[in-house]
């Protein structure tokens, strides 16, 4: 009986303790800066080196480049850039390999959609996703 009473006193004490839950949808969840959320993409920085597409473990990044419009300049610029968030696991490897930090993580993590097709994000969407951008991207 003593054990039962001890347990009861423990729960009774908790009645008045501070609540530990988050008021989540009403207040945004505080996340640390390193948090890996949905990517933000800077098309102007991209040099179409394909490293992000190569390192991606789930092969969710597809990109194509085109010749630089300015004939004097060498290299390529990005034409299309798609991330399929159905299979993206937000592992951070794409930002890790990117030599120009053209793709970086944000702290946004809400990605619920009513249709699977909407999880296929293109260059424009990723470009516009510019809130809560992670400050430090490389260790």
């Amino acid at each position: 009986m003593l054990g039962l009473a001890k347990g009861l006193s423990y729960t009774l004490k908790n009645l008045t303790r501070k609540k530990v839950t988050y008021d989540y949808p009403n207040e945004p969840l505080p996340v640390p800066d390193r948090f890996r959320g949905i990517q933000k993409f800077y098309p102007e920085k991209c040099i179409v080196c394909n490293q992000c597409a190569n390192i991606c473990p789930t092969e969710c990044i597809q990109l194509t480049g085109k010749k630089h419009p300015d004939p004097n300049k060498k290299g390529k610029i990005i034409d299309t850039y798609d991330i399929n968030f159905e299979i993206c696991i937000l592992c951070d490897l794409c930002t890790e390999v990117c030599p120009t930090e053209a793709i970086i993580m944000t702290n946004n993590f809400e990605l619920a959609e009513y249709s699977r097709d909407e999880l296929f994000k293109n260059l424009e969407w990723l470009d516009e996703n510019d809130e809560n951008i992670r400050k430090v991207n490389k260790a």
Binding site: L8, T11, L12, N14, L15, T16, K18, K19, T21
Partner: protein, 335 residues
């Protein structure tokens, strides 16, 4: 008032009055159930350092249960193909009806009681046993193995704990000399029976928790073992009936404990100016709170240990309690 009506001649008018009163009581009970569920969730939430419902109906979530009930009403009525249809449909009713019937004998105050019958206590215990029939019926009719196991557990548990439950109140009956609940309350003028019958109270309380199928004796619906036990195949309003029955019993049992051991509507000394109804409500709330407190603290008892505990511990103690009470009464009479 009720007394007069009971003795008046049968007629449509009287029937109408009774019917109306019954509906009122039903609404009161439903109101209680609504807020008992809310209270349960709130108390558990607070004990677990969270808020509980706080979305529907202000920050206290006052309309949460209402919303839940509405949702249940709107749900599709699913009856499994291989279920025993008539029994499946009637089972929730069998389970719920007695729960409501027992409320008739409970004296909430000295004036507010529906049926002041001489064998009120016996009536309560006898009628409340019928619910188990409903549970077993529903369990069997569902044609589901988990449900069957839950139903069997419910039956075994009812049989094992009904006996200590009755035996433990025999002491009270001996002391008050009556089975009438009003008389029992009146007999506590000199001190509540929790003081005179501490052993009886403890046995009764444990057995009552078991009768209510509440933690730590919630074996018939043991969520982690049998998923939902006897009502696993029920959904929508049929399921709500089982829940309703459970919570109405919760209400009735808390009221019965108040009446039997906590002196019903009787006030504490020198506090007689507070009306009886308030006293009853306070004591009643205390009992409810303890049950909720148990729920958020204890793990579940195992089936075989439950049986062992009922037969090998509670029953002998209850019998000894009767013997002791009788002995002391005789000794008191002698001197």
């Amino acid at each position: 008032m009720v007394e007069d009506l009971l003795h008046s001649s049968a007629g449509w008018l009287n029937f109408g009055i009774f019917f109306l009163l019954a509906v009122v009581l039903l609404l009161v009970v439903l109101g209680f159930v609504t807020y008992a569920i809310l209270a349960e969730r709130k108390v558990m939430g607070y004990m677990q350092m969270r808020h509980g419902p706080n979305q529907v109906g202000g920050r206290w979530g006052l309309l949460q249960t209402v919303a839940d009930v509405l949702k249940l009403l709107l749900k599709e009525d699913v009856i499994p193909k291989l279920a025993d249809r008539p029994l499946f449909i009637i089972a929730p009713v069998i389970a719920f009806a007695p729960a409501f019937m027992v409320l008739a004998t409970i004296p909430f105050t000295d004036k507010f009681q529906f049926a002041d019958i001489g064998v009120g206590l016996l009536y309560y215990i006898a009628v409340s046993g019928i619910t188990t029939v409903g549970i077993v019926t529903g369990a069997w009719a569902s044609n589901n193995k988990y449900a069957l196991l839950g139903g069997m557990r419910a039956a075994a548990q009812m049989i094992s704990y009904e006996i200590p439950l009755i035996m433990s109140v025999v002491g009270v009956v001996l002391l008050s000399g009556s089975l009438n609940l009003n008389d029992i309350v009146e007999a506590q003028k000199n001190g509540w029976f929790i003081v005179w019958q501490p052993i009886g109270f403890i046995v009764f309380f444990i057995a009552a928790v078991a009768e209510l199928n509440r933690v730590p004796f919630d074996l018939p619906e043991a969520e982690s073992e049998l998923i939902a036990g006897f009502h696993i195949e029920y959904s929508g309003f049929r399921w709500a009936f089982f829940m309703l029955a459970e919570y109405v019993y919760f209400f009735a049992m808390a009221a019965l404990i108040t009446v039997l051991f906590l002196g019903g509507w009787l006030p504490l000394p020198f506090l007689g100016f507070i009306p009886g109804a308030v006293w009853f409500a306070l004591k009643f709330t205390a009992v409810v709170f303890i049950l909720l407190w148990f729920r958020s603290t204890f793990p579940r008892v195992r089936a075989d240990q439950l049986m062992e505990f009922g037969w090998k511990v509670l029953l002998p103690i209850a019998l000894a309690n009767i013997f002791l009470t009788a002995l002391i009464m005789e000794l008191v009479k002698l001197f």
